[in-house]
């Protein structure tokens, strides 16, 4: 291994903390920071892509946004969809993880099965769900009817479209929460459990007073990780409903896409995207506070 170090190698050794991250930081600057800055600039302009030049209009886009009914609709849909799906994924993910948190033959198989929805291409499985959810000939209604329940209109009705989309999202992402929480549960200390059992605590008491507080930071971390994608859910909703029927499943994010790429209004679309970013940011800052507080306890 003893070769005479070249000048370059010596320079890299001396300035490792600078040289190693530099290429990635420069790359991120070009592919991430510059587009974000350009996007911010566009928010102050009025511009239809392909027609003339951007015109500076100050806060005009943000003023327009406040009175835009589709923005209000988008926020409502976003809160409904994300609120319901995130809470279901968290609760179900936790309960299933607690269920599987024991030594049993076949735990490997469960893990293998549960990784599948996570890896599966969203557009591909969303199309399969679209087939399964067809009100007339889909297999979901067939299964409901075969146990004597009435079929549902699923994504074809404004009333059921969000719960149906939530179902698909829960299907795709609960297994990931389960696997993360399961890994967290395996690393919990044994002592509190033994003490509780000696004191005669029942299963529910053990879950509520010991497991839940101990796993809380993992749970919030999983929620933050999940929220980064969930608040910006696009592929699945776009593939299954395109925001319909009407605009009943058009989240703010989907609307910002439509403004940018269906109406080609670059300025207004950018302003909407900034709002989406702010929502994600605020949510994560609040969650992070909660997590830090939980870890301090």
């Amino acid at each position: 291994m003893k070769t005479a170090p070249s000048t370059i190698s010596r320079f890299m050794d001396r300035h490792q903390a600078l040289v190693y991250p530099a290429p990635a930081v420069i790359a991120l600057f070009f592919i991430v920071i510059i587009p974000i800055a350009y996007n911010l600039y566009l928010t102050f302009t009025k511009w239809t892509i392909g027609l003339g030049q951007p015109q500076f209009i100050g806060f005009g886009n943000f003023i327009e946004l406040v009175s835009d009914e589709r923005v209000l609709n988008g926020m409502k849909v976003m809160i409904y969809f994300s609120g319901l799906s995130l809470s279901l994924e968290l609760v179900l993910g936790l309960l299933i993880a607690v269920y599987f948190n024991r030594e049993f033959k076949g735990s490997e198989i469960v893990q293998a099965i549960y990784i599948f929805p996570f890896a599966a291409t969203p557009v591909a499985v969303a199309l399969i769900w679209r087939i399964m959810l067809n009100p007339e000939i889909g297999v979901m209604n067939y299964l409901l009817r075969s146990v004597g329940l009435p079929g549902s209109l699923w994504v074809s009705s404004p009333l059921t479209v969000i719960p149906a989309l939530v179902m698909v999202d829960v299907w795709k992402w609960t297994p990931m929460i389960t696997l993360i929480v399961l890994a967290g549960l395996k690393s919990l200390p044994h002592d509190p459990y033994e003490a509780a059992r000696i004191d005669g605590a029942n299963t529910f008491q053990i879950f509520w007073y010991i497991t839940l507080p101990l796993i809380w930071p993992v749970l919030i971390a999983a929620l933050m990780l999940r929220s980064l994608d969930n608040l910006k859910e696009f592929d699945m909703i776009y593939t299954i409903t395109q925001g319909g029927p009407g605009i009943s499943s058009e989240t703010l994010y989907l609307y910002s896409y439509n403004v940018g790429f269906s109406f080609f209004k670059a300025g207004y679309g950018s302003a909407l995207m900034v709002v989406v970013f702010l929502i994600v940011l605020v949510f994560n800052v609040v969650m992070n506070r909660m997590r830090l507080r939980a870890q301090d306890l």
Partner: protein, 269 residues
């Protein structure tokens, strides 16, 4: 009593595995049915399977080309992400460069559409729409932060003494990074490479706008099956199976480290 409990447990376990398995099975069945069988009611569970849809997907829809496009873009994005990301993650872990971590967090929080609009305008100007360059660059927005984010936790979990020992033996820092450090975190590298590949392979939004006839990737190709007026469900079943199968197999092999990586990363953030 003990057997009864265990039967009860396994019944529940099987029930909890039904949803993921069912959709997977239904996808495969849809691809093996004829067009008529796919729109018959009640749905058929037992039938004579046909490979006709797979033939059609490859011959009529030219799917092999789209698979190759996806392979090229995901391969390039993953390769570049590793080359740029590994040294960066190592440095962040070693020198506690939290500010770079912040940059990565911003990259992950920003909606993809916010990148797409500027990139679309820039690529349109440079006449780079429908090129591998445009797709790879935009996919890097997802894969590079992911590789760094995952690798930082793997590097942090690595014992420092080994590296010190290598330095004493006269290795330069670069040599010890390449010959000692990287082999130590090979599990992490495999995991982040596969995660990066999966997320690039699955990427839809960037490819939807920035690809074209020449570089269309598989998610966009399968999505187009529904915009030909009549929906070809049998074709969708076959195409979806072809798209999902490779990434599922990949994920299966690194399932343990994927969970480890996600958990460690999540706990730190």
């Amino acid at each position: 009593m003990k057997t009864f409990k265990s039967i009860l447990f396994y019944t529940g376990a099987v029930a909890l595995c039904v949803p993921p398995v069912f959709v997977f099975v239904w996808m495969i069945l849809t691809g093996l049915k004829t067009g008529v069988q796919n729109i018959s009611y009640p749905p058929e569970f037992i039938f004579r399977p046909t490979l006709e849809n797979y033939r059609a997907v490859f011959q009529q829809y030219n799917f092999f080309r789209y698979l190759m496009n996806s392979l090229v873009v995901a391969g390039l994005a993953t390769g570049v992400s590793l080359v740029l990301g590994l040294p960066a993650a190592y440095s962040i872990a070693k020198y506690r460069q939290g500010k770079i971590g912040l940059l990565i967090l911003v990259a992950r929080m920003t909606p993809f559409v916010s990148y797409l609009l500027p990139w679309y305008i820039i690529f349109r100007h440079l006449k780079l729409i429908d090129t591998y360059t445009a797709l790879t660059i935009t996919h890097l927005i997802i894969t590079l932060p992911m590789v760094i984010w995952l690798m930082v936790s793997f590097f942090e979990g690595m014992p420092e003494e080994l590296e010190d020992a290598a330095m004493i033996d006269g290795c330069s820092r670069l040599q010890s990074f390449l010959r000692i450090v990287l082999p130590l975190v090979r599990n992490g590298i495999a995991t982040s490479a596969i995660m990066s590949f999966i997320f690039s392979w699955n990427q839809f939004l960037f490819s939807l706008i920035l690809s074209g006839p020449k570089t269309k990737t598989v998610p966009v190709a399968v999505y187009n099956f529904i915009s030909y007026g009549k929906i070809d469900w049998a074709g969708i079943g076959a195409a979806a199976t072809l798209i999902v199968l490779p990434v599922s197999v990949f994920a299966f092999f690194v399932r343990r480290t994927i969970v480890q990586g996600l958990t460690m990363g999540a706990l730190k953030e």
